[in-house]
Amino acid sequence: MSKPAENLPDFSVERDGSSARVLLRGAWTIAASRALERAAQKLAAAANGAQSAELDFAGVTRLDTAGAWLIDKARQQMAAAGVAARFAGASAGDAILLREAAYAPPQPERAGRENPLTALLVALGGWTVGMGEEILRGVSFLGELAFNAVRVVARPKAMRPTSMVFHLENFALRAVPIIATINFLVGCIVAQQGIFQLRRFGASTYAIDMVGVLVLRELGVLLTAIMIAGRSGSAITAELGSMKMREEVDALRVMGISPMEALVLPRLMALVLALPMLTVIGDFAALFGGMVTSYFYNGVSPQVFAERLQLAIGMNTYLVGLIKAPFMALVIGMIAAIEGFKVEGSAESLGRRVTASVVNSIFMVIFLDGLFAIFFASINY
């Protein structure tokens, strides 16, 4: 194989009165890239002034579709400039190639640019309609979900316990290490800051109250829900999305199986069970973290910590956090499923939907937590 550098596309021109002979040389292949493009541009103007030109292929060592296309393009440009050009000396193969790769001028682009103002209005209108459709889709999703949930309750046989337990293992059991660790660390951090800040008022023992109330009411469930939104919500969206991309969802549908019943409900139920369980684990891990920190920073023994905690919190403190968990799970699961079913054909859209699922569900979890805070405050619970 010859090196392309010694074999660049080139040509020379021999003029004889009003006719020109263009001797093409070298490898007219796409491998020459820029050199090929430049040679072709020069070629178009090579025979200017002549009446006829002959493009001689005798010196061409190699020709490919790109080369043939460009040479034919040059020939047509010559013709447009009044030079009747024709090919000569092309081998049988090259001749076929020149015919197959004959130059055709590109179709004119859709003519006329749009007025930017109109374009803006069009975009705005499209966006508004899109939003409307999205809301409609959300509502219809909720309806379908509710319908299927009722059907499953009325006919427990339609429930898919195997599937649910499978997802429960993924969402709950496998999440225990990370949930416990994160909550433990946050418990430590809250206790440490509490001790340092309250020590200035000589009230460092109240750090234990603070850890107890903050963790049980808010932080335990919130952190767990955010972790689950990132961990399981994204997984649900990606699973459903790629199933939709590969027509698996359609396959279920034509078998008469509702994707809602077969795919969404088991995941949703598993999430609704998993999040409270994980919240309990998270709560205990955080309290344990608080205990460890109190022992090391404040010399509080575990017994004293437990007694102090007993005074500070009641059953209601614990329940306030726990009650929120299933609702947050429902929100995470539904957003994940809606986004999953919105996935279209491309990998890009899958990525976009998974991002949207995680961002939206974390936002909604925090928003919901705020609503609950207002609610519990107003009923003095």
Partner: protein, 270 residues
């Protein structure tokens, strides 16, 4: 110059305990159109992927264009990759790019060309593979199965490769489209001196464009040669393949007419 483009010696590929290829040997000469056949799950795709360097091999030597692919520097390997085009069975078009961008992706990666020329070349490739110009701005998810095949071929041809790997190129195409596909491959082979390695089950393609056929069974190439050799072989799988019910309907055009062959088949029970 007559050194084989692909040369495989003693290739072993195993997945865990399951040996898929056992000491496979294969040579593909320059300009040859090789049809590769074999039962499902026999490892046709595994061989293709091993040659392309996508599947690790346990033993054996693979030489492409005379170069041992295990001993290449990354730079030489890149230069080698530029000389082949691959069309995957499912198309493997980049789903977030339009067809035009898909075809231009290898050009952009390897060459310095102006956008205008790349657009022109993309439209040329589309024309070559028989796609309408308006397909250029479509995304793969908007294309039909047959159009995806064509677009994938257009991308494989983007750099005018010397060696073309095709994995079941005509499956999923209507017979007219499949015949056009065969013609296109034949034309390109003739004009560009293309070497084609084609995994296929399309008997029409095997009959009409393949110079040689290689058959894979039990992890080895059991037969490699022109069609006549396949037809004459008494290996049970080859007999079933080339003398089966479907094969009988498509005898070689120069042998007997289709009606005649169908009539003789009807009178001679298998």
């Amino acid at each position: 110059m007559n050194e084989p483009v692909i040369s495989v010696r003693g290739l072993d590929v195993a997945f865990g305990a399951r040996k898929v290829l056992r000491g496979l040997d294969l040579d593909v000469a320059p300009g040859e159109v090789l049809g590769f056949v074999g039962g499902s799950g026999q490892g046709k795709s595994v061989l293709t992927r091993a040659i392309l360097g996508l599947n690790p091999k346990q033993a054996g030597k693979i030489r492409l264009f005379g170069e041992d692919i295990d001993r290449l520097t990354p730079r030489r390997h890149r230069a080698l990759e530029r000389r082949w085009g691959v069309m995957f069975q499912g198309g493997a078009l980049f789903s977030s790019l339009t067809v035009r961008q898909n075809i231009q992706a290898p050009m952009r990666e390897y060459l310095k060309l102006s956008q205008g020329l790349m657009d022109e070349l993309a439209s040329l490739k589309l024309k070559l593979v028989g796609l309408p110009p308006d397909a250029a701005e479509k995304y793969p998810s908007q294309l039909s199965g047959g159009m995806i095949k064509r677009a994938a071929l257009a991308r494989a041809l983007a750099l005018d490769p010397e060696l073309l790997f095709l994995d079941e190129p005509t499956s999923g195409l209507d017979p007219i489209g499949a015949a056009e596909f065969d013609d296109l491959i034949a034309t390109l082979q003739k004009t560009l001196g293309l070497t084609v390695f084609m995994v296929t089950h399309d008997l029409d393609s095997l009959y009409s464009i393949c110079d040689t056929i290689a058959a894979l069974a039990d992890g080895k190439v059991i037969a490699h040669g022109p069609l006549d050799l396949m037809l004459a072989s008494d290996h049970p799988w080859l007999r079933a393949y080339f003398h089966g019910k479907r094969a009988r309907a498509i005898r070689r055009p120069d042998a007997v007419g289709i009606e005649a062959s169908a009539a003789s088949d009807a009178s001679a029970p298998a």
